[in-house]
C-alpha cells in the first residue's frame, strides 16, 4: 500500500470514528431522557406534571425516530439506492397531516398553516416529503429562544407563477446564520462555530438529507438570503420547493 493510500485509509477511519461518536451521542442522550422521564412517572403525580414529562417522552421518541430515518436516508443516498415514489399531492391535505403528526410529537408546539386554496398539486414522494418538512419544523422548534416555552410555527406554501414549483417556507427564531456558513449548514455533520448559537441539530444530517432528497425529487432546499437589518440577529427562513403536477389530484 502506498503512503497516500495509507493516509487516505487513516482519514476515512478517523472520519468513521467521529461519525460513530456523533451517532452515539445523538442516540444515547435522548435515550437517557426517555428512560429518566419514564422513571419519574410515578402514581400520584399531579396531572400537569405527568403531562410535562410525557411531552418530553414524545418529543425525544420523535427525535430518535427522525435520527434513525436520517441515517437510513443518508445510507441510501450514499449507496445510490434511494427509491422515490412521486405522486400528485394535494398540498392542503399534506400540510394538515404534517401539522397533525408534528403536534402529536411536540405537544407544546402549534403549527399554523398558510396556503392558498388554489395551489396546484405538488409532485413528490409524500412519505419523504412529510419527513423533510418535519425536519424543517423540528429544527425551527429547537431554535426557539425559550426551550421550555410554547412555540408557534408557521408553515407557508405558495406557488410562484411561471416556475412550476410549490414552495414550503418555515421561519425560525434561532440566531441568524451568517452568509459564509449558509452553505456549510447543508453539509453532512456541518462544522459550524459554537458561537453561532444554533442548537446541535441532532446528528447533523437533517438538512443535508432534506436537501439531497428534495433535489432528487426535482426540487431543492435553501436558506433564504433575506436582507439583514443591523439590529436583527435572530430568525432564519428555510425554503423547500418541489415540482408541481399538472393532472388529476391523488390521495396523500
Amino acid at each position: 500500500m502506498t503512503i497516500d493510500a495509507c493516509q487516505n485509509l487513516e482519514t476515512i477511519l478517523t472520519e468513521q470514528t467521529a461519525f460513530l461518536r456523533t451517532i452515539a451521542h445523538a442516540l444515547r442522550t435522548p435515550m437517557q431522557s426517555l428512560q429518566g422521564f419514564a422513571e419519574l412517572l410515578e402514581p400520584g403525580l399531579p396531572p400537569a406534571q405527568v403531562e410535562h414529562y410525557v411531552a418530553f417522552i414524545k418529543r425525544d421518541a420523535a427525535y430518535l425516530a427522525a435520527v434513525v430515518d436520517d441515517l437510513c436516508l443518508r445510507h441510501e443516498l450514499a449507496s445510490g439506492k434511494l427509491l422515490l415514489f412521486p405522486t400528485a399531492i394535494d398540498v392542503g391535505n399534506l400540510l394538515a397531516e404534517l401539522a397533525r403528526q408534528f403536534e402529536a410529537q411536540m405537544p407544546d408546539c402549534v403549527v399554523s398553516l398558510e396556503y392558498a386554496d388554489d395551489l396546484p398539486p405538488a409532485f413528490a414522494d409524500p412519505d419523504r416529503l412529510l419527513h423533510l418538512l418535519g425536519t424543517l419544523l423540528r429544527n425551527a422548534a429547537r431554535c426557539r429562544p425559550d426551550p421550555d416555552g410554547p412555540v408557534w410555527l408557521t408553515m407557508r406554501a405558495q406557488c410562484e407563477l411561471g416556475d412550476r414549483q410549490v414552495m414550503f417556507i418555515v421561519e425560525d427564531d434561532g440566531q441568524q446564520v451568517p452568509p459564509e456558513y449558509a452553505s456549510a449548514l447543508f453539509d453532512p455533520l456541518p462544522q459550524l462555530p459554537a458561537a453561532l448559537g444554533r442548537p446541535r441539530l441532532g446528528v447533523g444530517l437533517g438538512l443535508y438529507v432534506a436537501r439531497e432528497v428534495a433535489r432528487q425529487m426535482g426540487g431543492d432546499l435553501r436558506l433564504a438570503g433575506t436582507p439583514v437589518p443591523t439590529d436583527r440577529q435572530f430568525g432564519n427562513t428555510f425554503v423547500m420547493h418541489v415540482p408541481t403536477f399538472e393532472g388529476p389530484v391523488g390521495h396523500v
Binding site: 452515539a24 435515550m31 428512560q35 429518566g36 418530553f56
Partner: protein, 127 residues
C-alpha cells in the same frame, strides 16, 4: 452545604436531572456550559461533579475537567462522568484523570442517584 455540580447542556436531560435530584433531596447547581461550570466551582468548590463531555461553547467536558483539576489546589475532585459517547479511549482518559465513576447514558435514575449519593457521602466524611 456540599453540593453536586451538574454540567449538562441538553435541555430535556437538564430538566430530568433537576426533577430527579430535587425528588431525592440532593443539593445541586446546574451549569449548561463549561465556562459557567468553572465559574460556579470557583465560587463554591463542589463536593462532586456530574460531567457531560459534549458541551456548547469553547470548552468540552475534558477541558472543563482539566481546568477543575488545575484549580483544585489540594481539594478532592470527584467527577462522575455522565456521557453518551464513551469509547475505550475515553474510558482510558477518564481513568487517567481518576474519575470517581463512569456512567454511560442511558442509566437508571436509581443508579445515577446512588452514585451521586455515595460521592457526596464520601465528600461529607472528608470534609
Amino acid at each position: 452545604m456540599s453540593e453536586l455540580l451538574v454540567v449538562e447542556d441538553d435541555f430535556a436531560l437538564g430538566v430530568f436531572l433537576v426533577q430527579a435530584l430535587e425528588r431525592d433531596g440532593i443539593p445541586f447547581r446546574v451549569a449548561q456550559n463549561g465556562e459557567l461550570a468553572l465559574q460556579i466551582a470557583a465560587e463554591c468548590w463542589p463536593a462532586a461533579v456530574l460531567l457531560d463531555l459534549t458541551l456548547p461553547g469553547d470548552l468540552d467536558g475534558w477541558q472543563v475537567w482539566d481546568r477543575l483539576l488545575a484549580q483544585a489546589g489540594g481539594r478532592a475532585l470527584r467527577v462522575i462522568l455522565f456521557a453518551a459517547e464513551l469509547d475505550s479511549h475515553d474510558q482510558h482518559q477518564a481513568h487517567q484523570r481518576e474519575a470517581w465513576a463512569i456512567l454511560r447514558k442511558p442509566v437508571s435514575r436509581a443508579w445515577l442517584v446512588d452514585h451521586v449519593r455515595r460521592a457526596l457521602a464520601e465528600a461529607a466524611i472528608h470534609a
